[in-house]
């Protein structure tokens, strides 16, 4: 029939066009290459949702500026930090994904074989910046070279509510963990407990390492293979936690995520937390009156001195990336003084530079509440210390072993049994390391 003829031709034409398109698309996929007219270099960077969102805005601004200057696009993707390990593992396993990502802690050791060696970039940037802080350097320098470049670290001071302390009759914040316990008992009775998370979150790790080191305790021996958790010093740490939990904190610390302690101090109920300056920054940003009451002080110490385990963030480039050189150029661009300075300002002193020359930014001196923050670098060690950072250390953190040991103890498990449990788990983490190595 006449009526069907044009329809049949149209259908054939459609089929031909569709087949051609499919074949074309298949060839792009097979060649892993975009068609010529669409080719523009795109660098992709996976980072975290920063605790001070303005910092991510500044990062994206700089990425755009770099893209314009280098005829490329830089895409910055961000996600919740607790979800990053799984996302990164998936990219490592599938050998595809972003060109570079924000590493944390001992990640560069976990993915040593899969990350590009960046010795040249580290040497260039490090020289311009007056050298790296030792703790930052150790977190990236593996046996096979620098597998990431230190990006920034986050000071972990005591954050306290001055009004609550004053009301309780204390004229200064705690200088030692023992003093925190004494003050905390009074503050809790006053209705303003202190708070340290004993839960599955990163802040719980940061504080545990700090308290343990200040007491002289360790998790691994210096060889990085022998578990060193069972000791009188760890027992003292656990006893301290038990007393603090019972007399100075409330059970809610067992359920906190990383924002839990922030909410606690911002609610006006909490009197003291061990945390970066993000609650203060949030209070300022939201014009909350409590900002006036919040202040910071250096992390407390113990019989073995003051020690701190600041979150230490770096940038790594995957070996599967097709844009390795572009990634290095972008990183060098971020470290240009004016860019890094702008980034520090955007974070309102949250981002600390790992380079000594960049640490002289006036933002810390200008605000008395920030003045002591750079000093935290003097107390800092990479996690695992006195052992060097390793994938075993990363695994110990990732599996929340130390936190769970404390949680078990505060929930009634005898101290010795909790330590033995942790020892067994640490041995398993080390065993994993030995298998891979």
């Amino acid at each position: 029939m006449d009526q069907t003829a044009p329809r049949s031709i149209a259908r054939r034409r459609f089929l031909r066009t569709a087949a051609g398109t499919t074949a074309g698309m298949a060839s792009w996929l097979a060649l892993h290459k975009a068609p010529a007219y669409a080719q523009k270099r795109e660098l992709t960077f996976l980072s975290w949702n920063h605790f001070v969102p303005a910092s991510d805005d500044e990062l994206r601004k700089q990425a755009e500026a770099f893209g314009k200057a280098n005829n490329c696009t830089v895409r910055v993707d961000t996600m919740a930090h607790l979800q990053m390990p799984a996302k990164i593992a998936a990219e490592a396993q599938s050998q595809s994904g972003h060109d570079m990502y924000r590493t944390a802690g001992a990640d560069p050791f976990l993915y040593e074989n899969l990350l590009v060696t960046v010795d040249d970039l580290v040497a260039k940037v490090g020289k311009q910046g007056g050298g790296w802080y030792s703790f930052a350097e150790q977190s990236c320098q593996t046996k096979s070279g620098w597998k990431a470049i230190p990006w920034f670290w986050v000071s972990f001071p005591g954050t306290y509510n001055m009004a609550h302390f004053k009301k309780a009759g204390f004229d200064h914040p705690p200088k030692t963990w023992d003093e925190l316990l004494k003050q905390g008992k009074v503050l809790k009775k006053q209705g303003n407990p202190v708070g340290i998370p004993i839960s599955h979150c990163s802040d719980a790790h940061s504080t545990y390492w700090s308290v343990a080191w200040s007491q002289g305790a360790k998790v691994l021996e210096a060889d990085g293979k022998t578990p060193g958790i069972v000791s009188d010093k760890t027992a003292a740490v656990i006893e301290w936690y038990k007393e603090l939990y019972k007399d100075a904190m409330e059970p809610e610390v067992l359920s906190w995520d990383d924002a839990g302690n922030n909410r606690f101090i911002l609610s006006g109920k909490g009197s003291w937390i061990h945390n970066p300056v993000s609650p203060y920054n949030a209070a300022l940003a939201n014009k909350q009156p409590i900002a006036d009451d919040i202040n910071h002080h250096n992390s407390p110490g113990g019989p073995a001195g003051i020690h701190s385990a600041p979150p230490n963030l770096s940038m790594g480039i995957w070996k599967f990336s097709k844009n390795q050189e572009l990634a290095k150029e972008f990183i060098a661009y971020l470290f240009q003084k004016q860019n890094f300075d702008a980034w520090i300002v955007a974070s309102n002193a949250f981002n600390h530079p790992p380079l000594k020359n960049l640490a002289d930014h006036p933002i810390w001196a200008r605000n008395p509440k920030f003045a002591m923050l750079p000093k935290e670098a003097e107390y800092a060690h990479p996690r695992g210390w006195p052992a060097k950072p390793s994938e075993a250390v990363q695994r110990i953190d990732d599996n929340y072993i130390m936190t769970d040991m404390v949680a078990k103890a505060v929930n009634g498990m005898p101290t010795k049994r909790a330590m033995d449990w942790a020892q067994e788990q640490i041995a398993l983490a080390v065993k994993g390391q030995l298998k891979v190595g």
Partner: protein, 312 residues
């Protein structure tokens, strides 16, 4: 009737072109039939069989993220059984599934009975009941996270205001028993509509005459339910319980959002522990072993339950 090429040749007519021969081949019953199921088979192989095979392979090897390992037999299974956290997870999974499933069965049937009545705005109510099942779990669980928050828990606030509990109320996500109760409550809240709506479909198929006959015989409402309704909806109930057992054992989102397995691993389920060990910790071998551990048991449950349903 189709005319073959030999007939055409004998009749002196030109033979069919390649296209017609192809069509003829395609239209044969055995080719066409298999041809139709090929896409489904390809999808099943690519999306189910291949990942499943990979998971079995991972679980039998010393495989770390980005670092292929050697075949180690059942070592991973032996190792996880020797780990206290895994044994705790095993216990959690049975407690979680047992309690959640029981509640969903009882409440689901009860809700279905209510929904089967002639209510006003019946359709709207049925639509609303489905909401927890329709909203993405991660999103709705975030709302629950706030409701169970240690400082701002609306659950505690309400219970304190109506004098059910005294301040400050339970620490829902920080204490083992409460945390388990919280994840079970959210799982029941989310899974209930699936039970209710499916059982409702079963109830609709029960002929009214049976109830009327039982009523005439003087059966009480409980008797009518126990001796008439329940036996008739048993097959539907069996299928729903089967599916729900699998889904509940494999739950991930609710625990991951609410507790991340805490406090002290007391709410870890197979999926969340496998995620922590396999992806966060990088030990794919052990992660796969954890997630597959329950598979033989679930396969047995499926086998016996399906056999029972078929008999019924």
């Amino acid at each position: 009737m189709a005319v073959g090429p030999r007939v055409l040749e004998a009749a002196g007519l030109p033979g069919p072109g390649r296209q017609s021969r192809l069509r003829e081949w395609w239209e044969q019953e055995h080719v066409f039939g298999y041809g139709l199921i090929v896409p489904a088979v390809v999808l099943l192989v690519a999306l189910v069989a291949f990942p499943f095979g990979m998971a079995i392979y991972f679980s039998l090897s010393d495989y770390w993220v980005g670092s292929p390992g050697a075949f180690v037999g059942l070592t991973n299974y032996r190792d996880i059984l020797g780990n206290e956290v895994f044994r705790q997870t095993l216990q959690n999974s049975f407690v979680f599934t047992g309690i959640a499933l029981s509640l969903k069965v009882v409440l689901g049937v009860w809700l279905a009975m209510l929904l089967s009545r002639n209510l006003r705005f019946k359709r709207i109510i049925r639509g609303i009941v489905l909401l927890p099942f329709v909203i993405p779990t991660a999103l709705s669980t975030l709302a629950w996270l706030w409701m169970f928050d240690s400082l701002y828990s609306v659950v505690n606030w309400t219970a304190i205001r109506v004098h059910l509990i005294s301040a400050p109320g339970p620490n829902w996500l920080g204490q083992a028993e409460y945390a388990m109760a919280a994840v079970i409550a959210v799982n029941v809240w989310r899974g209930l509509p699936f039970f209710a709506i499916t059982v409702l479909a079963g109830l609709m198929a029960v002929p009214k005459e049976f109830h009327e006959a039982a009523e005439v015989d003087g059966a009480s409402s409980w008797g009518r339910f126990w001796y008439v309704t329940l036996p008739l909806i048993k097959p539907v109930l069996g299928v729903v319980i089967l599916f729900s057992t699998i889904f509940t054992f494999g739950d991930f989102n609710i625990v991951q959002v609410l507790t991340r397995g805490g406090p002290i691993n007391t709410t870890h389920l197979f999926a969340t522990l496998a995620y922590q060990v396999g992806l966060s910790g990088g030990n794919l071998g052990q992660g796969a072993a954890i997630s597959l551990f329950i598979f033989p048991l679930l396969a047995l449950v499926v086998f016996f339950q399906l056999r029972y349903i078929r008999k019924e």
